[in-house]
Subunit: 323 residues, 2 copies
């Protein structure tokens, strides 16, 4: 079998290319770069490894593929064994590259909601200069629940911790101890008991069968009047119709969604006019921050050394679990 | 002399009234509440102490005044001895009540600038859903300079520290050691040497003769291409014309001003159309966060006990220095 790596990353630059080439050479591989998935389809027969944001079509056409290293953290589109020629093909993700950028997005959007920044943007836009009646709120003293205690949830909790919130609770599948930034770890089965004690619900979950619709209409009703919801995981986790109702009725004081269903969100979608909803176009974790790209390439090169040495891959995805 | 305290605070509620009354009773004072400065003028002859946001007119009319506790942090309008009947009248400010709310504003606006949130607001407003070319930046790895290492600058540095910036330098009058969140403390005389090493300049200075115009056109030019400026101190600290030029020419990548000259800012002022300028209407430290009001009243009651016991006042202002 030929020892070839196919790379499809749109953030390629000379530094990254040199890093990848050097790691590949150390491991006995040669690298072929493709400008896009479209250019790669039909041309990756010899690739034992693919790295980057490959389309399903590219992966399905890679007859020799033994390992696909996806440069995204969310790999829900790549968990079906049927898309691989070899059902034992390894899949790794790039969870760990996005914690820094997504947690900065999270802190920013939480503060924008609490401080009513969308309304203040309007005051300035209209040529005004005035204090809005009704007050603002702070991270300081807030009860924060983080749904998903992976890299993103943990990095967020560490930053939020410095703002001296009243309490940060992490909610995860198992009650294993989490980062010290969490005051407490609860399991997902206890979520209904945690929600009534939550001022700010931060959702950073992968898209799996288990997480779809996890913030249902019933659970939204368990949040206290005036709570906030922020989601950077997958749009499928939130009942969007219920969210629109909860915002417009004032049960929730605000929400921030970076992920929605569908994407791109149509210009006339009712989410766009929901009250106090801060929308961003799935940019919390995109590849426009240099640090994210650098970590992404580093993580691939580390796992390439593991792969070549026959060691376990650090970022291996359990396709049945979905992350 | 009668032992009377006059209180003019527009955030008064039953809890605060009870706290103030109890502290006053312990110290042998009675309290008179006024709904506004206008209502107080001519009616405060008997007040030995005034607390709140009093107009200069109220203070000038307070013939028995020995101590004015201003509920703002910035007291530049109250530093002229001539406004007091007794030139030895004590002045305290409420610096320390605003650190929490202003530092949350600072982190929010820094992240909004770095992540190009004003542009993303426009993308969504226009019904779009797309990633902007050109990339974003992060607090992570940024070189931050904090001009003013008082309560606000220190609280900001502590929060910013959790985002793992490359380096946080505090700049102050004296090189006394600062909070451990500062990697380094420099004196204001060294500012010109610090500016070229600054990605993000955060200004939290009181308004004094020394700080007026501190960010001059020449100093702005010392900042590296693509730097950001954020000001929450006083508008007088920044050469606004130079700032507009630096933004529109692209020398600065963005700026956020919560304080400007004049306030309120006219609807047709050129600051309103400067490129990548995030304006907020002097709300970083207003009294709409419950915590700020609570600290404000606590601080007055603490100093009232000090005053009655003949101990030094903790928040005493040196009127010649201006803070």
């Amino acid at each position: 079998m030929s020892k070839t790596i196919g790379v499809i990353i749109d953030f390629l630059n000379e530094t990254y290319e040199r890093q990848i080439n050097e790691a590949a050479a150390r491991c006995g591989y040669t690298v072929r770069y493709f400008p896009s998935s479209a250019a790669a389809v039909g041309n990756v027969d010899d690739c034992e490894i693919l790295y980057g944001h490959c389309s399903k079509k590219v992966i399905a056409s890679a007859k020799s593929l033994k390992w696909y290293c996806c440069c995204w953290a969310g790999v829900d589109h790549f968990c079906d064994d049927a898309i691989y020629c070899d059902p034992d093909c390894l899949l790794t993700n790039s969870a760990g590259a996005y914690g820094v950028t997504i947690c900065e997005h999270l802190i920013m959007t939480c503060l924008m909601l609490l401080r009513r920044q969308m309304e203040y943007t309007e005051v300035i836009r209209e040529g005004g200069w005035r204090v809005l009646p009704g007050g603002i709120r702070s991270l300081y003293g807030s009860r924060i629940t983080v749904l998903g205690t992976g890299d993103i949830g943990t990095q967020f909790a560490r930053r939020a911790h410095a703002f001296l919130p009243a309490r940060i609770v992490g909610v995860r599948r198992s009650a294993k101890p989490g980062d010290p930034a969490f005051d407490e770890i609860r399991t997902i089965t206890e979520l209904d008991a945690v929600l009534p004690q939550t001022d700010l619900l931060v959702m950073a979950l992968p898209s799996t069968a288990e997480t779809a619709g996890v913030l249902s209409r019933e659970r939204m009703a368990l949040l206290p009047q005036g709570a906030y919801v922020v989601n950077v995981g997958r749009g499928t986790a939130v009942d969007q119709e219920a969210l629109i109702d909860a915002l417009n009725a004032g049960h929730l004081a605000g929400a921030a969604l970076d992920v929605v269903v569908p994407e791109p969100l149509p210009a006339d979608h009712p989410l766009r006019t929901a009250k106090n909803l801060l929308l961003t176009p799935h940019v919390a974790g995109n590849m426009t921050l240099g640090h994210t790209c650098t970590r992404n390439v580093e993580m691939f090169c580390e796992d390439l050394e593991n792969y070549a040495a026959g060691r376990p891959l650090r970022h291996l995805v359990d396709r049945r679990k979905g992350y």
